[in-house]
Symmetry: C2
Subunit: 585 residues, 2 copies
Amino acid sequence: MIELTDIQSPADIKGLGDDELRHVAHEMRRAMLQWVSTVGGHVGPNLGVVEATIALYQVFDAPEDKIVWDVSHQDIAHKMLTGRMKYFTDPSLYRTIGEYTDPNESPYDLFYAGHTSPSITLAAGLAKARDLQGEEHAVVAFIGDGSLSGGVAFEGLDAAATLNSNFIVIVNDNQMAIAENHGSLYDNLLELRETNGMAADNYFKTLGYDYIYVKEGNDLPSLREAFQKAKASKSPVVVHINTQKGEGYGLAEEYRERFHWSVPFDVTNGNPKHDSGEPTYDTLTRDMLIELIETDAKTLVVNPATPGSFGFTPEVRKRVGAQFWDVGIAEQCGVSVAAGAAKGGLKPILAVETSFLQRAFDQLVEDLSLDNLPATLLVLDAGVYGIPDATHLGLWDMVMLSNIPNLVYLGPTNAEEYKAMLTWAHNQTSHSVAIRVPTTSLTHAEGDVDTDYSTINIYKMAHRGSDVALVGASNMYGVARKAAEILAGQGIDATLINPRFLSGVDEDMMRGLKKNHKTVITLEDSSLEGGLGEKIARVLGPTGMKVRCLGLQKEFIDRYNAAEILEAASLTPQKVADIAQEMLK
Amino acid sequence: MIELTDIQSPADIKGLGDDELRHVAHEMRRAMLQWVSTVGGHVGPNLGVVEATIALYQVFDAPEDKIVWDVSHQDIAHKMLTGRMKYFTDPSLYRTIGEYTDPNESPYDLFYAGHTSPSITLAAGLAKARDLQGEEHAVVAFIGDGSLSGGVAFEGLDAAATLNSNFIVIVNDNQMAIAENHGSLYDNLLELRETNGMAADNYFKTLGYDYIYVKEGNDLPSLREAFQKAKASKSPVVVHINTQKGEGYGLAEEYRERFHWSVPFDVTNGNPKHDSGEPTYDTLTRDMLIELIETDAKTLVVNPATPGSFGFTPEVRKRVGAQFWDVGIAEQCGVSVAAGAAKGGLKPILAVETSFLQRAFDQLVEDLSLDNLPATLLVLDAGVYGIPDATHLGLWDMVMLSNIPNLVYLGPTNAEEYKAMLTWAHNQTSHSVAIRVPTTSLTHAEGDVDTDYSTINIYKMAHRGSDVALVGASNMYGVARKAAEILAGQGIDATLINPRFLSGVDEDMMRGLKKNHKTVITLEDSSLEGGLGEKIARVLGPTGMKVRCLGLQKEFIDRYNAAEILEAASLTPQKVADIAQEMLK
């Protein structure tokens, strides 16, 4: 029998018999499970598509044939078969590879893929390029069921079908996205599964696609037959494969949401390896949302398909009932229904990851802020402590949220301030409000926190000193505070400011500093460009006050270490203190 | 017979007989045509839905029943029937009302609507609010066929069907969006029309909707019957109405794309009232794109449904053939296929209005810039001279485009520079490039312009003076130049800088100004916040150089006069000169 480490490229599996391939699949699953349980990542989706990936590389001739992976929740088998097996079999290399496709890593990875749903539009671009240049290769988009709810996937299906040339969309249907699938399209997929692909109503056919159903989506001969048929087609075709999420790992087959993605876990019992049980901002978010739902019938919590990220487990969702709406992977819909619900008299709260909110920028502007509707956004995973993958960065949150009229973006610095801000936002009707949920470990306020934020852009001066003022926004307030302590030890009585508002400047306070300050240093843990520090620099520009903005560079960073990034950006207490000393010279 | 001016609210038409209503419809069309031919606006879409709007207000009890208008290309009849008739019948009031729905104007306007496609998601929010609060009214989204191609419309259909309560989507099918409809969904609509709604493949049914087809979409009894059926339904339903775009105005029925939207025109012959025939940046864009297509087989021009805005008329489109791809109203798709096409070896150029580009922010980040693919974006209608409606502002272009890693955003200041930048962008492979197409009247360079922009963030010092430096970006370069002339007359030799790069700062040049300058003034005609001036203020912050950033406030402005806005922002040559004098004191 072939060893996994013998597989250097798809060529190495092309000629194997099915017995041998089943052995390979089994071994791949074993390696995959070791890897993902050690470093954390997507469990169920990856286990489900091992056979589909093998069949894909037997039938198609990559990289000449173009295979576009969606979202990368399901591409470990792909990475294993395309020259990167050793990273998943040799524990010493485990942490040197990531889950997401990366064109710098392999010619088989055509695009970075981290967000759901772009595979079809990207593949449409490739197909158009092929046709205009008179090339002949196949173009395949490999998309998961959950990704189909994203609007761009529909846009891609709609546009690509008009190309009238070979265009293959493989829909990996594992019967759920992250949590259960939401949206009526999934009822259609269910109907198709239940009728062995024969249902009269067929979403894909209405959009002009030929349709092939593969009932046994973990069976190699069935998959190969379907893929071969698709490869030969000269018109757009959807291959709908019914796979088992978590296949081969009993716990992941049974607890499919728990094992969609997991922190490192013990394979024998499925328990997370590190769960301190300590309160975090995620558990605080969960508890506050439950309380608002249970004490106020007008509360509606909306979320696009990531309820687990703030503790809305199946049990919690059952408890809160209709006051929680998971709209599926559909962020545009999430923002827009929150706007509509606010107009309808509810008090909606949308919880969404910063990076995914990028998809709803237009709805933030046109549906929410232009109408100035009182919905509250909880912005998750913002800043340097968010998700450290290049595809999921939380570093453009202020770009999106601090520069839109009417929208108030708040940055709490401790648990009590977060509670107070959410309570205020929930009960007011004058503003659209976004709250940057802290991503540091949970801290508590040292004194009372304000409960009323209705006069916007009023910063809090925690300590009034002289010479240098430190403005520490959101996650960086703690760094500013510690820098002030260092400076105090050096005989400098620094002013310490918590801006609280990330979308505007306390112009009076800032200009007032001129009296007895020589310099202002701003600290923020997202991209400097388009952020808060630049606004303060603009306001102070005409005064001649020296301003130094500390924050992150405008660059894509991948699988980074937050401490290193902060060090490089001079966002450590010691470095801030050093800069203050230097600016005062 | 009832006079139009007798109609103050929907109650005034509820009891009218059909003969009288047909008279009303005829008179409404006449008024509409006078209004739109005088002030400019959407012609065909509005003419087509007069009967549908009348029937709607007969059957439903607005504003208790909630009717959400999409895009507002089709809501003049709605405005007429809901208390605003006089603005369309009294020429002295013509210019005091706009086309788009506006909640500050009427309780019948639930949301601002200017962008396509959000009606379904907004209505879903209203329906959820109704259901949670135990209310009983109907919820209606009135959407046009063209809007269905926007991904958020799909997301809304998908999510709203799961509410399992009264939810009505009226699809106004006038057989084209702006130009022809693009996308396979329109083939399904065609099939449904051709089979009187009986086709086996039915997009809406696959998404869980009951379906009612109205063949005679300009026939009042047919419309009322369908709407009544929908009103009584307790489950989601689509009413597909087949209307005549431009109904009642022969020229608009025949030339449907020309009369989708028009500048003021002569009703008798359809000719635009003011067409100087002079070259503009739009005609220059058209000519350059045709040339790039005809001289380079790898050129692909992509546009989401607005080819007319840069002169790609049906004749031009026929001429350029497959090298132009109108993907329909689907900006996410537009950016993503451009990225895919670049990866596939083409040299794609995406032309798109700034305001609509908001919908593709995620694709700008994840599909284009993260992969650093060499596509070129032509950003239309940016800045203060863009579209002066609150729903279509071009003021957040730098927010979106100047703050993303890898993306180079260029701001040409005259025709030759625009040509040079487009030529360079098209032929390089190192960057994703966006070009802010000027929206001033066309001007020419005074000398040679650079042809190579590959070393990024190098500003051009047009004149080296002292004391004060004026940085005039994009459309505002001319203002800076004239301000420098005024200052010269006052004995001040101002430095004049064309930054050219809107996404970064020439740090050496800016810091070098310290030698013999006391102050820097930046000029830009979009939102100050998140823009170029703030970046310059940040870079100069530590130097103590005085910086004054001139630009637009972060606010929604509606149907504004550009000159007034510029005056208020001190963006006139005289005011800039005055500010320079003041800062030098």
